[in-house]
């Protein structure tokens, strides 16, 4: 056997051995599991630019949640996103795509409120048949306020009106 072949095989074998180690380490990397803490925006108002870019990528990725039946096409002047303007989650935005947004301390809420004054299932915001967004208090202990009035029935949300839940204030924006 020629010297060259053997040298190539010798180095090739080392390369293959190391390739195996690297592949194994990659498997470990992809195998880390546990709780996934998802990006929910900066606490400060001015989100960093690369973060915003990542958020936009994320916005494209997740599959739409339950579409409301008969949601219809979006009207002109309808709000396109929900913005948390005060509280721990200030700066978080959620795209409005006809899905129901639940708010509360429960882990499966769309917006998980880490707030002692919020109930576990505090309120929800959903579009009605005409695409008008409605906020409904879900029997919370401390109530949900639209502007200054405590909600008693499902109420249409005007653009930019503050919805107050505990320390958190959210509003709908174009």
């Amino acid at each position: 056997m020629s010297e060259l072949t053997l040298t190539v095989m010798r180095l090739g074998f080392l390369a293959v051995l190391w390739l195996f180690v690297i592949v194994a380490v990659q498997v470990i990397r992809s195998d880390l599991f546990g709780t996934r803490v998802t990006q929910r925006g900066s606490r400060r108002e001015n989100a960093r630019p690369q973060q915003a870019a990542r958020q936009q990528q994320q916005a494209a990725a997740p599959p739409p949640q339950r579409q409301q039946q008969g949601g219809g096409r979006q009207r002109r002047g309808a709000p396109s996103k929900l913005v948390v303007s005060e509280g721990i989650l200030a700066g978080t935005t959620v795209a409005l795509q006809g899905q129901t947004i639940s708010l509360g301390r429960a882990h499966d809420s769309t917006i998980v409120l880490d707030d002692d004054y919020a109930s576990s299932r505090h309120a929800r915001i959903y579009p009605d048949r005409d695409g008008q967004w409605i906020v409904e208090d879900l029997g919370s202990t401390n109530g949900t306020y639209l502007d200054r009035t405590r909600l008693t029935t499902p109420t249409p949300v005007p653009l930019g009106a503050p919805i107050r839940i505990g320390k958190t204030v959210i509003e709908l924006r174009k």
């Binding site: 095989m9 010798r10 074998f13 195996f20 470990i28 546990g34 998802t38 959620v94």
Partner: protein, 474 residues
């Protein structure tokens, strides 16, 4: 900010995927690498493809396939890396043992016999035991019932080599027994059994060992009577060292106990005590026990040992120095498989000193890869312990992976002259039935624990109140 829109997602546990296909792919890789090595050895020694290539590849592939099928069927959520890593080491060991069988120098030895077929048979028995563990051990917590039986079993296994007529003295170390035509190293099996005992015992006693203590200079000093267990284990390992004259076995059991004690109690003071006690014990025994003393001398000055051996002085061995030369002549990238001269290390070249062959023919780069593969096995064991939900499983996984790690350290350190040489063998790589079989059983238990640990928790019953929250109407 104005243009960024996003869905906020919730925080939730991600169910671990079963990863069986990843395991299969890695396993195929782990069978191909030894085949490559086999071809490489054949081309280097004979200049042609080795004749037994298909049979050998089929044998290794069959073993890997069977074990994968059993894992897929009976431990579907097990760790995807343990099996491929162990298979790769076993396969590489087989290739290098076969390569040493081809050596003309070794073939001229009076008691030469081809070792590779035996090793393949031992691997098959090992895989069979691995399969048996997965089939019979449905839940590792069953082992907890046998805590004290394991203690008795481990002591018997450890004492067996001392029984007259049964034990064998192999080059000074009395850690073998001879049953029928086979020589067995009971210590390899004892390490699994004793891990079960330590795990069951520490699970019950850990609160007493962790909480009843005084704080002194930043260390928690245990009460005198809580020192009892560690002193007993220490005395037993000293007795092993004195009567079986094997530093490796002694270090393995004491180190394993200290590791498990530390994990069970989270008290650094146990590590300090353990290190002090093992240092005192090792120095004390080495200063009066002649065989241990000789091993220590050989470690401190391997060149003198080599010279004495060359002069024909009985009881000295040239192997330690030869192993160092083998590593040295390998250099960074090695001489290439089948082209080294590590067969100069005569009879122990394929067992205790197999790492020297790897060091010479694959070089530093290859040795690092091999040590990393061992490290990954240990890492997966520790990760299994972290993920395990029950304290017994945690302690058992940490004990088994700790024992594995200590054994690799003791053997690799011995061959590389970092610590005195011992009679233990490199898990999976080295020629030896007990080692291969016991370590496959060890991997089997780890896979069983990791399957239990990674199995997704059963989904909780739906909460009937969840959707029925009423809107308060005044």
């Amino acid at each position: 900010m104005s243009s960024s829109t996003t869905h906020t997602s919730t925080i939730g546990a991600i169910g671990a995927p079963s990863r069986r296909n990843t395991e299969l792919a890695l396993l195929a890789f782990a069978v191909v690498i030894p085949l490559f090595a086999y071809i490489n050895v054949g081309l280097a020694i004979d200049g042609e493809l080795p004749t037994g290539m298909l049979g050998y590849g089929a044998g290794l592939g069959l073993l890997a396939g069977v074990s994968h099928f059993v894992v897929r069927k009976f431990a579907p959520y097990a760790d995807p890396l343990l099996l491929p890593l162990a298979t790769l080491l076993n396969g590489l060991g087989l290739v290098v043992i076969w390569r040493l069988d081809q050596s003309e120098r070794l073939q001229q030895l009076p008691n030469f016999s081809a070792a590779a077929p035996n090793q393949l048979m031992y691997s098959a028995i090992g895989i069979a035991l691995f399969v048996g563990v997965l089939l019979l051990l449905k839940d590792h917590r069953v082992l907890q019932r046998y805590t004290y039986i394991s203690m008795v079993g481990a002591i018997i296994l450890l004492l067996l080599p001392l029984v007259p007529g049964l034990g064998m003295n192999v080059f000074g170390a009395k850690i073998w027994i001879r049953v029928g035509g086979f020589s067995i190293q009971p210590g390899e099996f004892a390490k699994i059994v004793i891990a079960i005992f330590f795990a069951g015992y520490l699970m019950v006693k850990r609160d007493a060992l962790a909480l009843a203590s005084r704080r002194f200079m930043g260390l928690y000093l245990p009460r005198g009577r809580d020192l009892g267990p560690i002193v007993v284990v220490w005395i037993i390992s000293i007795l092993i060292l004195v009567f079986e004259t094997d530093l490796g076995t002694s270090l393995l059991f004491f180190g394993m106990f200290v590791v498990m004690l530390y994990v069970a109690t989270e008290r650094t003071s146990w590590i300090v005590f353990g290190l002090l006690m093992s240092a005192v014990g090792a120095v004390g025994v080495a200063s009066f026990e002649p065989h241990v003393k000789q091993r220590v001398d050989a470690w401190l000055d391997p060149m003198r040992e080599y010279t004495l051996s060359q002069q024909g002085v009985v009881g000295h061995s040239e192997q330690a120095m030869q192993a160092l030369w083998a590593f040295g002549s390998g250099g960074t990238l090695g001489t290439g498989l089948g082209q080294g001269n590590s067969d100069l290390i005569k009879f122990a070249a394929n067992s205790d000193f197999i790492l020297a062959t790897f060091g010479e023919e694959l070089g530093l780069a290859g040795i690092m890869a091999i040590l990393l593969i061992y490290g990954l096995i240990v890492e997966r064991g520790v990760r299994t312990a972290l993920a395990a939900r029950d304290p017994f499983g945690k302690l058992l996984a940490i004990g088994l992976s700790g024992a594995f790690a200590i054994q690799v350290f003791v053997v690799a350190g011995g061959v590389m002259s970092l610590i005195p040489l011992t009679g233990m063998t490199m898990p999976f790589l080295a020629y030896g039935g007990s080692s291969v079989i016991a370590n496959w059983a060890l991997i089997g238990i780890l896979i069983r624990i990791s399957d239990t640990a990674r199995r997704p928790a059963p989904t909780p019953a739906p909460n009937p109140d969840a959707e029925m929250t009423q809107v308060v109407r005044p």
